[in-house]
């Protein structure tokens, strides 16, 4: 049967030991894609779902109609947030390697996605993040020390020890609780946006999934409802090329871009250079304005590369070339913004190095602070009996009885 099989099996362009090959990526020159009016009909802007919106060109210049109105000061701040995200990730990764937290997921190479989109949204807009959006949490003011305490499951952990590391939430920052299940938050964002419309408010919602998670049914539920009710929502697909060991083609990226997933239900799609902070900011602002003016949802595909492992539980050298990231044609988002600022005379290598050192010190200070609230081995420890809280609004009798039983057994 095997020899006769006519089934198409999608294969990545390179596996370990092979030369990285990104010739499959359709790249438009920077500045070449038109910027349509906010009220364009979906059918008139279908080209946006297959072309690639880029602002930063090979000479580090910002060019074309999507060039946003961001002064060098704002760009320096954006650079700082991206660098902070990377420094934070690197530190937490190391802390996991030392056995001091049980799990971690870094966003290396994807920092521009979170930072640029957070900048383009308003504080009242609600985010339904995936597990690689730590940059939005940081940008929205969730403190480093609080994120570290969550990863430590310690006495200051916002999740009270209930969730795996990195499954943050912040009601205050309008950041929804990360679940760990895939694409489940996509319909939530649509529903939140529908409620915003029902209440007559101008807040919008945004959500993020990876290329792999677009295969989940919840992704398609979200698109249908968003289109039917013209919900004010931005649905983002972060195409980082890899879903653990399977490449984006396994999720269906070989035929048409993920940005085109919405066209069948009438949702415009925009494919954007996910390592170009200016392009992402501009595209997100366009989608946000469109949503706020009653134009309904937009699907944005952010083309980037997962620079690190999926999580601390896998070794990517087992399934993709070790040097693949360095061959990625869209480069590194931090390096690209840095070079753009340097080219404009607004930044230098010295300033960059100094900032990196400052950020490392800031992260280290936060880590020292976080440990005061407890680690896996050193107190203070959370009270385990709190696990029975919040299952319901009011704790039912059988859970109170189990709580008493637990305390009894643990103290025996």
């Amino acid at each position: 049967m095997n020899k006769k099989s006519r089934l198409h099996i999608p294969r990545p362009s390179a596996r370990p030991g092979e030369k990285p090959d990104f010739s499959y990526l359709n790249l438009s020159p920077a500045g070449s894609v038109d910027k349509p009016p906010f009220d364009s009909r979906t059918r008139d802007i279908e080209n946006l779902s297959v072309e690639l919106v880029r602002v930063l060109d090979d000479n580090h210049e910002a060019v074309g109609p999507w060039k946003p109105d961001l002064d060098p000061g704002k760009l320096q701040i954006a650079l700082r947030w991206m660098m902070l995200t990377r420094v934070f990730d690197a530190r937490m990764w190391q802390i996991h390697r030392q056995g001091r937290i049980t799990f971690y997921m870094e966003s290396k190479g994807e920092e521009a996605v979170s930072v640029a989109q957070a900048m383009a949204l308003r504080p009242g807009d609600m985010c339904f993040p995936s597990y690689r959006n730590q940059g939005i949490f940081l940008y929205r003011g969730v403190k480093l020390v609080d994120m570290m305490c969550q990863c430590l499951s310690n006495t200051r952990d916002m999740c009270k020890g209930r969730q795996l590391p990195i499954m943050y939430h912040s009601k205050k920052a309008n950041m929804f609780s990360i679940s760990g299940n895939l694409a489940t938050q996509y319909p939530h964002a649509v529903g939140w946006a529908m409620a915003s419309a029902i209440k007559g408010e101008d807040h919008i919602a945004a959500s993020w999934v990876g290329d792999g998670s677009t295969a989940e049914a919840d992704f398609h539920h979200a698109l249908t409802f968003a289109a039917v009710y013209q919900a004010p929502v931005i649905l983002n697909v972060v195409n980082n090329q890899w879903a653990i060991s399977t490449f984006q083609g396994t999720a269906g990226g070989q035929r048409r871009p993920f940005a085109a997933r919405g066209l069948g239900v009438g949702i415009p799609g925009i494919r954007v250079d996910g390592n170009d902070l200016l392009a992402i900011y501009s595209v997100t602002l366009w989608a946000a304005e469109r949503a706020r003016r009653g134009g309904g949802p937009t699907l944005i595909e952010l083309v980037t590369y997962r620079g690190g492992a999926h999580s601390t539980s896998d070794d990517p050298s087992k399934y993709r070339p070790k040097d693949e990231w360095s061959a990625f044609p869209l480069g590194d988002p931090i390096e690209r913004l840095k070079q753009h600022l340097i080219a404009g005379g607004h930044w230098s290598d010295e300033q960059h190095e100094k900032m990196e050192e400052e950020l490392k010190a800031e992260v280290l200070t936060a880590w020292k602070e976080a440990q005061k609230f407890g680690t896996m081995t050193e107190g203070p420890f959370l009270d385990p009996s709190t696990m029975f809280d919040d299952v319901f609004a009011e704790t039912p009798a059988h859970l109170e009885s189990q709580r008493r039983r637990m305390i009894e057994v643990e103290s025996s």
């Binding site: 099996i9 952990d157 020890g161 499954m167 760990g180 295969a215 989940e216 396994t250």
Partner: protein, 338 residues
């Protein structure tokens, strides 16, 4: 015979059936090139090719739904759901389609799908990598539900499951993939190498579905359990000095009531233990069957040890997991009944 851990035994089962029967195919997330996140399918794609060991998109409903279609068209699919916690998007396909297809088509259609999925806690997986949802599946008419507790049974039962024309949900307690676990997280991990059930034949054999196993005989108390807790029960019984008979259910459905009832009728006391939450759990079904068949011989009320009725907490894994301490307390308490 060879020494195998549970991962190797499961891989060996897949290898044996794929070698024997060209209609067996495997599909799931990361199972092909990568060999599965727990390595259960490592090497199988190299051996049997990309057309029989298929990397699937991240869509549990899609994996199970297409497996059903393949099964209807003459293949014998083994679907892997990466964690039992992620099986729910495929639940409708299992409940409304896989379980009922034979019945509603009066036997004209059926699909012999086996769904393998790692379950249970003990690996610091938090609420999305720790659940034991076997009771939900046991409740569905038309599917068989299995949970082995050791490498020998895992291989023999998995071969039976794949060769069965009925659909089977096959739960793999991931905490004991690499070695038996006595429920005490402070003690160093042990491997299957020193355990008699780590001796596994390399070729084809089956362990029949629907048969419980008396793991150790005793006269004073019966502990009915399955999966990881079998090993916890053995250790806890030893620690208390109670002469306990420990019965490994193995087959959640069909259930071997006769073996269970014979044991409880002999000992007169019955403790039921599972990792899953207690309320509406599988232990309730076991208790109902035991009281029906053993009522006049019972010397104490049937008692249950289970996970607390909360989501599985990351930091309090060992306070949540019904480990050695809770098992010992449960044994002592049931033995105190005059």
């Amino acid at each position: 015979m060879a020494q195998m851990n549970m991962i190797e035994a499961i891989r060996s089962a897949l290898d044996v059936v794929m070698d024997k029967d060209p209609s067996v195919v495997a599909l799931g997330q990361d199972i092909g090139y990568f060999g599965g996140v727990f390595r259960c399918t490592d090497g199988l794609q190299r051996k049997y090719g990309e057309h029989r060991v298929i990397d699937a998109p991240i869509a549990e409903g899609g994996i199970i739904g297409t497996a059903i279609g393949m099964g209807v068209n003459g293949l014998r699919p083994v679907a892997e759901i990466q964690f039992a916690d992620y099986i729910y998007p495929g639940f409708d396909q299992i409940v409304s389609e896989l379980a009922r297809l034979r019945h509603r088509s009066c036997g004209e259609f059926f699909s012999p799908v086996t769904i393998r999925t790692p379950c249970g806690g003990g690996i610091r997986g938090g609420q999305t990598h720790s659940q034991s949802p076997e009771a939900i599946f046991a409740h569905i008419s038309g599917i068989k539900t299995i949970m082995p507790s050791n490498p020998y049974d895992a291989k023999g039962l998995l071969i039976s499951a794949i060769e069965s024309d009925d659909p089977v949900v096959f739960f793999e307690p991931k905490r004991i993939y690499n070695g038996p676990f006595d429920g005490d997280p402070e003690r160093p991990a042990v491997s299957w190498a020193s355990h008699p059930k780590g001796e596994v034949p390399e070729g084809h054999y089956t362990v029949p579905i629907g048969e419980a196993e008396v793991v150790q005989s005793g006269e004073e108390l019966t502990i009915i359990t399955y999966g990881t807790l079998v090993h916890v029960a053995v250790a806890a019984a030893e620690a208390t000095g109670v002469d306990a008979e420990i019965v490994d259910v193995r087959s959640i459905f069909p259930l071997d009531v006769a073996t269970l009832a014979a044991s409880v009728n002999k000992t007169g006391r019955c403790l039921i233990a599972h990792e899953a939450t207690r309320f509406g759990g599988y232990g309730a079904e076991l208790a109902a069957r035991i009281q029906k068949d053993c009522f006049w011989n019972l010397e104490a009320p049937i008692s249950r040890i289970a996970g607390w009725d909360t989501p599985y907490p990351h930091a309090f894994e060992w306070q949540y997991f019904p480990g050695k301490k809770r098992m010992i307390a449960g044994i002592k308490s049931i033995m105190e009944v005059e």
